[in-house]
Amino acid sequence: MPEIAFKCAPVDKSGIAALDKSRAAPHSRVMPHDDPDHPHTLLPPDPALRVKALETILTRKGLVDPAALDAIIDTYEHKIGPRNGAHVVAKAWSDAGFRAALLEDATAAVSDLGYFGRQGEHIVAAENTPEVHNMVVCTLCSCYPWPLLGVPPGWYKSDAYRARAVRAPRAVLAEFGVTLPEETAVRVWDSTAEVRYLVIPRRPAGTEGWSETALMDLVTRDSMIGTGLALAPEQTAS
């Protein structure tokens, strides 16, 4: 039987005990332990225990390797993120052949750069122009181009965004600080488990001759969801 251990965060035991003792008796009942000299570990929230239970059962059945779970978390926390998408966008801005390939078959073009969907999904690139601004939502749940942008931000998963992006895209854009000219149409793409969209923002003026690496710094996460624009050169001056 493998031993399954979860380390809890270090807490200053003596500090808690001292605090407990310093309080009047009626207050001590709110402390999460019964004996201040031997405090037990704080109980995690209910959903955390439900996840632990699932993980424990599946690990015991040999269906889950806890090390593999840690690797997945590490990948999404540290290795996969909007820098991948920014790489794709910057390359599209500076390499006409790549741009054409990306618009033709984004799944193949980004896999040539080493970005693969873990769920076998297709990626479609939607390029902004003076006539059309593209914006992405998932009205079903939270489908998102993980390999290029990582895990979606909280607002992308909220009912407020999911419901209103389709109904009132210009109002949502205004809340993100984006105001488009009247003549620019807004096209909203509804993602699915099978098809995820990457917005290719317009290349900012004044960036002629910039290297791909320099261009990447102008490409924000939101600009690739369509709730933002690529930064102007003066916005990145540090």
Binding site: L42, E55, R60, Y76, F176
Partner: protein, 114 residues
């Protein structure tokens, strides 16, 4: 609703349930469109009662979907999950602060569905 930097996962359990689902999918236990349909249905049901903010409520819906899916696949039944969850609770309450919480010596046959 701005693009300020934020952690990828706000709570450790958000990351755990996400990784568990991705791992099980990659092992071939279900396909992703099926997962997305089930998850979307749970979100829709939860969203009837209040506006979901995409944080804890989002991952609570995620867990509920995963629990139902795993019960349907006979990989983890509800009574089994409840029993192991109770064991974890007991382990936490019985472990001195600062020490690793373990289920060492636990016999999986204590659940009712073996």
């Amino acid at each position: 609703m701005s693009g300020a930097p934020e952690p990828v996962f706000n709570e450790p359990w958000h990351a755990q349930v996400f990784a568990l689902t991705v791992h099980l999918h990659e092992a071939g236990h279900f396909d992703w469109p099926d997962w997305a349909r089930r998850f979307g249905a749970t979100l829709e049901r939860h969203g009837l009662h209040k506006d979901l903010d995409g944080g804890d409520d989002y991952f609570t819906a995620w867990i509920e979907t995963l629990e139902a899916l795993l019960a349907g696949l006979d990989l983890a039944q509800a009574d089994q999950v409840a029993a192991v969850k109770a064991d974890w609770e007991a382990a936490y309450l019985g472990t001195p602060h600062g020490e690793p919480v373990t289920l060492a010596g636990y016999s999986s046959t204590s659940s009712t569905s073996d």
